[in-house]
């Protein structure tokens, strides 16, 4: 069953219709006590505005940064966050879980 997850995609569609350049971030894998389930979305525009969530607010900042870059390069990428994941992003999940996030530009 779906829930509010899908609403993020409806917002994505509205933003797209307004001509905004967008990237979509999706939780594709989780281990341990991840805050948001697989399939959760965050939609980001080139100005860094965002809607939705891929964690409990722990890593969204880093995801937004990577998403804005993905809009510029036009290339998708996979991000991984875990507890005390200092090397990569200096942000982690305080809940002790690990998540992988797929970030892709929305293309015409």
């Amino acid at each position: 069953m779906a829930d509010q997850l899908n609403d993020t995609l409806l917002i994505a569609e509205q933003w797209q219709a307004q001509g905004r350049a967008l990237a979509l971030a999706t939780v594709i894998d989780t281990w341990g006590s991840a805050p948001r389930p697989v399939g959760s979305h965050l939609i980001i525009d080139s100005e860094g505005n965002f809607e939705g969530s891929v964690s409990g607010g722990c890593v969204e900042g880093a995801v937004v940064f990577e998403a804005v870059e993905a809009i510029e390069t036009g290339k998708p990428k996979v991000l991984e966050f875990g507890v005390a994941d200092e090397t990569a992003w200096e942000v982690g999940l305080s809940c002790g879980g690990r998540i992988r996030i797929y970030v892709e530009p929305v293309t015409a």
Binding site: M1, A2, D3, L10, V38, A108
Partner: protein, 228 residues
């Protein structure tokens, strides 16, 4: 993601049909599949399983990694009976992400004043359900206490396999319901799909608390399946 795929997902949501999007994590290639257009291979079988369970996830983790995301219709709640319990239940269900419809042919009950901000129909349920059929992504709650109003939509919900079916009333009331349903060739096994008495047993003592117990039971059934 291509805008076209985004639009197709939105359309599927509008028409209450399920779709799956398969992403090749390395290349970024994406394909959208409808349930009746799945490939006849292992991937097609995996997509089919995931459409049924509603669970998105990674396949082929060691080789060509694919992410299958299923988009299934948002859950719907149809409430038969514009009663006091329903007034409390509507905002709770909406907060949980349900699309809610309230149906009651008694115009004194089904007033916009009592039910603002919800899809309200002052009509007989069997007439409404002809044009707006129930489905397996829908929960049906019958709370009028009146067999004339409750019985037919309950029978329809059993036929359409609503994921949750609940009916207000004591065990005695449900016993009488069982007798009436048996006359319509609905046996005890089929009848067991109806949660009656409705709601989790939390000692609910007023309409709002009963609404909590109903909502909790709907969420439990949605997330854990029917374990009875």
């Amino acid at each position: 993601m291509q805008v076209q795929i985004l639009q197709q997902i939105a359309q599927a949501r509008q028409s209450r049909t399920a779709v799956a999007v398969v992403t090749d994590i390395q290349s970024g290639d994406q394909t959208l599949y409808h349930p009746d257009g799945l490939p006849a291979d292992e991937l097609g079988a995996e997509i089919d399983r995931r459409l049924r369970s509603g669970k998105s996830g990674i396949v082929n983790p060691d080789e060509n990694e694919l992410f299958i995301q299923v988009h299934v219709p948002s859950p719907r709640l149809v409430i038969i009976g514009a009663v006091h319990i329903s007034q409390a239940l509507v905002p709770m269900a909406q907060a949980c992400g349900f699309d809610v419809t309230v149906i009651d042919p008694r115009t004194a009950f089904a007033t916009p004043e009592r039910f603002p901000n919800v899809d309200l129909l002052a009509d007989w349920p069997q007439e409404v359900l002809q044009t707006r059929p129930l489905d397996s992504y829908t929960a049906l709650v019958a709370v009028t206490h009146d067999p004339k109003i409750d019985d037919l939509p309950l029978q329809d919900a059993l036929k359409e396999k609503c994921f949750y079916i609940g009916a207000l009333g004591s065990r005695k009331t449900h016993g009488k319901r069982a007798v009436r349903f048996a006359e319509n060739d609905i046996d005890a096994t089929a009848l067991a799909a109806i949660h009656a008495p409705i709601g989790l047993d939390i000692g609910a003592a007023n309409p709002a608390e009963i609404a909590v117990s109903i909502m909790a039971e709907i969420v439990e059934t949605l997330r854990r399946g029917d374990q009875r």
